[in-house]
């Protein structure tokens, strides 16, 4: 018995090592490399930064940490503005995605088989095409003489073409479109778990469909709302392709700033510092939400 139990713990340990090793190799080590670069000094060379650790006269180790990159980020209002803009745009896009995704997930969860499987498939289907192509397609739809304006004008809804491309609205559309499946799937999972008799009970006790949605369905699918929103919000903050292709020149998102620092200015230390700061901007709210969730669970048990 004891041997078996030991073997089991061993196997469990072994299994838990796989994600640990994975995270170590593909997240922790790159993170440390970026952290190192962010603390070094820029120079015109290859690679374009000075080493942090240096042996002087064979026995003296010199460690030079340059916090100037971070101070520069705080000093220059551009970066702060870019962070705030990124969070604002990501948040707005997440709310829009939620407002579109919730009804979609609801319809799918209440559909009968085989329609349900078909609808789910349709949600995932766009992934079969390249992400870049799909974003390019939106340019053709949204531009001044594009499909959308052509349709609206021929229907007589508008007389002047709408300027959507190269505005924040185009970025919202791009993010909402691209990340919709990440919102729909967790919502679908929690909606399909919902016990339908609870809704009947609410209705029986005098709740109109809208009230029973607000008092029963929504609170019970909140975990799905949180999970879906995080899956959209977190990658949207660092999004580069969508604001670069659909946004205007004045659309200031941290992903774009990072790209500029890295490729246009070739300032790797600043770019790394931007990346590290971005990580904290994302990790901060995540940890807070996690703690809220844990407290919620605790209060429930």
């Amino acid at each position: 018995m004891r041997v078996v139990r030991r073997l089991n713990t061993l196997r469990r340990d072994w299994l838990s090592w796989i994600p640990t090793v994975w995270l170590g190799v593909f997240f922790l080590i790159p993170f440390l490399v970026v952290l190192k670069i962010s603390l070094s000094e820029a120079t015109i060379a290859m690679p374009p930064y000075l080493p942090i650790f240096e042996w002087i006269e064979g026995s003296l180790l010199e460690i030079r940490l340059d916090f100037g990159n971070y101070l520069f980020l705080i000093d220059d209002p551009l970066y702060g503005a870019a962070y705030v803009e990124s969070v604002r745009i990501a948040l707005t896009a997440t709310i829009i995605t939620l407002l579109i995704g919730y009804p979609m997930a609801y319809v799918i969860a209440t559909a009968r088989e085989p329609r349900r499987t078909l609808l789910l498939l349709l949600v995932i289907l766009p992934f079969w095409t390249s992400f870049l192509l799909r974003v390019y397609a939106w340019i053709a739809i949204l531009k001044t003489n594009g499909l959308l304006n052509g349709l609206l004008m021929s229907l007589g809804v508008i007389s002047e073409p709408l300027v959507i491309l190269q505005t924040d609205v185009a970025v919202y559309i791009g993010i909402a479109y691209t990340y919709l499946p990440f919102m729909v799937l967790p919502l679908y999972a929690s909606l399909s778990k919902l016990d339908r008799t609870l809704l009947e009970a609410a209705e029986d006790l005098g709740a109109t469909p809208w009230i029973s949605f607000l008092t029963v369905t929504l609170p019970l699918t909140l975990p799905g709302v949180v999970a879906g929103s995080l899956l959209v919000f977190v990658p949207a903050i660092g999004e580069f392709v969508i604001p670069a292709l659909l946004g205007g020149n004045d659309t200031l998102m941290i992903g774009k700033v990072l790209w500029n620092e890295f490729f246009a200015n070739r300032d790797w230390p600043i770019a790394s510092a931007v990346a590290i700061m971005m990580l904290f901007v994302i990790v901060g709210p995540l940890m807070w939400l996690n703690r809220m969730n844990a407290q919620h669970e605790e209060a429930n048990s």
């Binding site: 009947e200 009970a201 609410a202 209705e203 029986d204 006790l205």
Partner: protein, 376 residues
């Protein structure tokens, strides 16, 4: 149990107005009928039980009344108002669900208060009403608990309190005691009757448990394959079933095929071909000569004896099996003429002289009034 001695049997009064009515209600799912042409009138203060096996349509009928299903044909009336097209949230009925359907994210208090909040009652009044209800179901100490912190019996009582909260005209209970163990069940049955009497509500209970139906009901409606096959008081259902199905479903019964041999001045003579004997009957039965009928006798109305000399009906057989059940024993007797019958015998004394009668030759006797004749 005719639960309320003061209750007038309104269903016997042709002048009485029914409180709740199903008129020709049929419900089909994808063309398959679940409820077929049900006509049923239920009176105020009744505790009516819908009894049937699984798939008999009893739950569908209840859901039609609650408003979760709309009938394919027919109409539903409460207090003289056609409510067929009234949505569930506007009906003056409340339901206690089989699974209880308590809101898992709300406390016991909030669960019970849910319906009252929908009515827009002031907070102070809700608090008073909820604490009254929790007292009624003896759960005052649990007001702040969540449903998953309660036992099965406690959840059942929360569900009852929640369904009673709005003081509905009709309370629907779907297998209310199904998940409880036997002792708790019996206590709760009596408690339900008490609550129903004190609140003066009309209860409609769906159950598959005939004992439960017999205990609770003022009247029982037996359902089979979507049809309401018999509606009567428990005593009538048991003693005068109107079909072989009902006779067999409620309690145990011995059924024999018979042929009418003579019908003189309304006095039937029956011949049971299976038993190869004429059956002596007390009381009037209608039937035409040569018609095939069923003769049914309950096991407890048959007697086991070794001396059949003064019996009206008597048949000889051999004891095949004995089941000792404590309060009574069941004997399966193979009759000499073929069929096997079931006879039950109360264990009045501790040393019953038939206790070990396996393989023994015995006589089965019964009175002329013991059996019923069924035409279907």
């Amino acid at each position: 149990m005719s639960s309320n001695p003061s209750m007038v049997k309104k269903w016997l009064d042709p002048e009485a107005k029914p409180f709740l009515e199903f008129r020709g209600v049929t419900k089909s799912f994808d063309g398959i009928p679940a409820v077929r042409d049900v006509n049923l009138a239920i009176y105020q203060n009744e505790l009516f039980c819908l009894l049937g096996g699984s798939g008999s349509g009893k739950t569908t009928l209840l859901r039609i009344l609650a408003g979760f299903e709309s009938p394919t044909e027919g109409s539903v009336w409460i207090d003289g108002v056609d409510i067929t097209n009234v949505p569930a949230y506007e009906r003056p009925v409340n339901m206690m669900f089989q699974s209880y359907a308590l809101f898992p994210h709300m406390s016991v208090f909030d669960n019970v208060a849910y319906g009252l909040k929908r009515d827009g009652l002031p907070k102070s009044e809700i608090a008073v009403r909820v604490s009254e209800l929790l007292e009624l179901v003896r759960l005052s100490a649990f007001a702040n608990r969540k449903p998953d912190q309660l036992s099965g019996g406690q959840r059942q009582r929360v569900a009852l309190a929640r369904a009673l909260a709005k003081r509905p005209k009709v309370l629907l209970l779907d297998e209310p005691l199904g998940a409880l163990d036997k002792n708790l069940r019996e206590d709760t049955q009596l408690e339900l009757i008490k609550i129903q009497e004190s609140l003066g509500m009309t209860f409609i209970v769906v159950t598959h448990d005939q004992e439960e139906a017999m205990t609770l009901a003022t009247r029982i409606g037996v359902m089979d394959e979507g049809y309401l096959v018999q509606t009567d008081e428990p005593h009538t259902i048991y003693e005068y079933p109107n079909s072989a199905y009902v006779a067999d479903f409620i309690g145990d019964i011995n059924l024999f095929e018979c042929v009418v041999t003579d019908n003189e001045a309304g006095e039937l003579s029956l011949y049971a071909s299976q038993l190869d004997t004429a059956i002596e009957l007390d009381g009037p039965v209608t039937g035409a000569v040569n018609q095939t009928l069923w003769y049914a006798v309950r096991p407890e109305k048959m007697r086991l004896t070794r001396d059949p000399s003064d019996a009206v009906n008597a048949l000889k057989g051999v004891v095949h099996e004995i089941a000792y059940l404590g309060d009574f024993s069941v004997y399966w007797v193979d009759l000499d003429c073929g069929p096997r019958v079931r006879v039950s015998r109360p264990n009045i004394s501790r040393l019953d002289d038939f206790a070990e009668a396996w393989g023994e030759e015995v006589w089965i006797t019964w009175d002329g009034s013991a059996g019923v004749v069924l035409s279907q």
